[in-house]
C-alpha cells in the first residue's frame, strides 16, 4: 500500500517515528484541502543536526508526493524561527502537536510538549500536510501522564498548571508561556544559553531512552 511505502521510505532514511494523521478538524479555511498530516519525528539524542535531517526527510516526503501528483505544505521543525518566505506566514496555522497526536504518536503532556510512550519529549518534529488520501493512524485523544506531576513540581519558573490535555478541551491552559519565556530570557543573559529543558529531562518517559515502556512508579525515578 502507498501509505506503508512512504513510511518505509522515511524510516529507511533515518526517521525515528512516522505517522499519518487525519487533521481535518484542526484546519483553517486556507489549508482545509490538505487534510492529512505526515508527522515525522527524530530522536534529538542522535546528533546535533536534527533540524537539517528533519528537513531532508521532509524533502523526501515532498518528492514522493509530487511524483504522485499530490499537493503538500511542509511545516518545518523550527517553524517559529523561519521567516522571509511567502509561505512562512502560514506556518502558524498548524502545529506539530496536532500532527503528532492525530497520527497517534503521542499526547500533549503536562509539560505542554508531545510525549511519546517510548521517547518521551526528546523528539523533534516536522509535518507535511497533504491532500494525498493516505491511510490515517489511530489518533491519541487524551493524556497518558496519569498522576505523574514531576515536571509541574520541578519547573523552575512555575509555568506548568498541571492541567491534563484532552482533545475534547483544546483551550485549557497547560503552560503559562510568559513565565517560561521570562526564565529562558534571564538564563540567556547569564550564560547565553536560553534553554531550560528541565520539563523534558525530568519526564520519566524521556528518561526511558526508547528502551521499554514506563511501568514503574514515577516517584522512584525522581532526582
Amino acid at each position: 500500500m502507498e501509505t506503508a511505502s512512504l513510511k518505509e521510505l522515511l524510516s529507511a532514511h533515518g526517521a525515528t517515528l512516522v505517522g499519518v494523521g487525519d487533521v481535518t478538524q484542526a484546519l483553517t479555511s486556507e489549508i482545509i484541502h490538505l487534510n492529512r498530516a505526515v508527522a515525522i519525528a527524530l530522536n534529538r539524542g542522535l546528533g546535533e543536526d536534527t533540524s537539517e535531517r528533519l528537513i531532508r526527510l521532509q524533502g523526501l516526503t515532498e518528492s514522493w508526493l509530487r511524483e504522485r501528483g499530490y499537493r503538500y505544505l511542509s511545516i518545518p521543525p523550527d517553524s517559529d524561527r523561519r521567516r522571509g518566505k511567502f509561505v512562512s506566514r502560514l506556518y502558524k496555522l498548524f502545529s506539530h502537536k496536532t500532527a503528532a497526536t492525530c497520527s497517534g504518536l503521542g499526547w500533549v503532556g503536562k509539560n505542554g510538549l508531545v510525549i511519546n510512550a517510548l521517547y518521551g519529549s526528546k523528539l523533534s518534529w516536522a509535518s507535511v500536510l497533504t491532500n494525498a488520501p493516505l491511510i490515517a493512524d489511530k489518533p491519541v485523544g487524551s493524556s497518558n501522564c496519569g498522576n505523574c506531576d514531576l515536571c509541574v513540581r520541578y519547573c523552575p519558573s512555575g509555568a506548568l498548571t498541571g492541567r491534563e490535555w484532552s482533545i475534547e478541551e483544546p483551550y485549557i491552559e497547560i503552560v503559562k508561556y510568559d513565565r517560561c519565556r521570562v526564565l529562558k530570557r534571564s538564563r540567556r543573559l547569564l550564560d547565553d544559553r536560553p534553554n531550560c529543558g528541565l520539563c523534558i529531562t525530568i519526564c520519566p518517559y524521556s528518561r526511558n531512552g526508547g528502551k521499554v515502556n514506563v511501568n514503574r512508579r514515577v516517584e522512584d525515578m525522581a532526582i
Binding site: E30, L34, R66, R71, K85, F86, V87, R89, L90
Partner: protein, 227 residues
C-alpha cells in the same frame, strides 16, 4: 548541455510545482548555456506564474500553493537577477511598499512586491506595521516614483489618506497605489490614490496581468530589434 526549451520548461514547471530546487537548477542552467536572464525570467518563471494564476482561478490551487509558487519563483529570480541587463521597456524606477501602521497582514503586499521585483524595479520594502511618516520619509529619501500602501483592516486603513496627502503635498507626481480587503475604487478616488487592488488573490491577478503586459512589451521590443 540542456537546450533553451528544456531550461525554460524546467523554470516554468518549477514554479508551477512549487519546486524551489528545480527553479534554482533551471536558473543556473540558464546562465550556464548563456540564455538571456530576462528571457529566462519572463519565458520561464513568469510563464509558470501565469499558469499558477489560471490554476488559482480554476480553484485548483489555493493560498498555500500560490505562496509556495512565489517562493519558488524567487529562488530562481535571486540567481537570475544579477545577470539581467536593464530592460528598455519604458518602465523603470523605484517603489516604496509597506503595510500601514497597526496592520501586520502582508501576504498581498508581498505578492505585489514580487511583481515589481520581476519587472526590475528597485523595491524599498518597509515591511509591515509601518509608521505613517516612514512612507513619506522613505519616498523623499529614495525619490521613488511609486508608493504602495497595504491594509487588511478598516482600522488601519484610515491612516492611508494621511500618507497620501503628505506625499502628494510634497510631490504631486508620485503615483500612489493602495490595496487590501477594505479598500475600493471609490476610496482610492476619494483619497487621491492612483490605483488599488482588493486582496491577495486580486493583487496576484493584477500582478500577473501587469507582468504579462511587461512580457508582451518585451517580446514586441525584441521583435522590433530583429526587423
Amino acid at each position: 548541455m540542456p537546450t533553451r526549451e528544456e531550461v525554460l520548461e524546467k523554470l516554468k514547471n518549477g514554479v508551477i510545482q512549487y519546486d524551489e530546487d528545480a527553479c534554482k537548477e533551471g536558473a543556473n542552467e540558464a546562465i550556464a548555456i548563456g540564455l538571456d536572464a530576462n528571457e529566462a525570467i519572463f519565458e520561464g518563471l513568469v510563464a509558470g506564474m501565469e499558469e499558477v494564476g489560471r490554476l488559482f482561478e480554476a480553484q485548483e490551487y489555493f493560498v498555500p500553493e500560490i505562496l509556495m509558487c512565489a517562493d519558488a519563483l524567487y529562488a530562481g529570480l535571486d540567481i537570475l537577477k544579477p545577470h539581467c541587463k536593464q530592460m528598455d521597456l519604458g518602465v523603470k524606477g523605484a517603489v516604496v511598499i509597506g503595510t500601514v501602521e497597526g496592520d501586520v497582514h502582508d501576504i498581498g503586499k508581498n505578492l505585489v512586491k514580487m511583481m515589481f521585483d520581476v519587472a526590475g524595479f528597485t523595491v524599498y520594502d518597509l515591511g509591515r506595521d509601518v509608521p505613517l511618516d516612514q512612507f513619506v520619509e522613505e519616498q523623499l529619501r529614495t525619490d521613488s516614483e511609486l508608493v504602495c500602501l497595504s491594509a487588511m483592516m478598516t482600522t488601519s486603513m484610515i491612516g492611508m489618506p494621511k500618507v497620501i496627502e503628505k506625499i502628494k503635498a510634497r510631490n504631486p507626481n508620485v503615483m500612489i497605489m493602495i490595496g487590501g480587503a477594505p479598500t475600493s475604487k471609490e476610496l482610492a478616488d476619494k483619497w487621491g490614490a492612483d490605483g488599488y487592488a482588493e486582496d491577495a488573490s486580486n493583487a496576484l491577478k493584477e500582478a500577473i496581468k501587469m507582468v504579462t503586459f511587461l512580457k508582451n512589451l518585451r517580446a514586441e521590443k525584441e521583435a522590433e530589434k530583429k526587423v
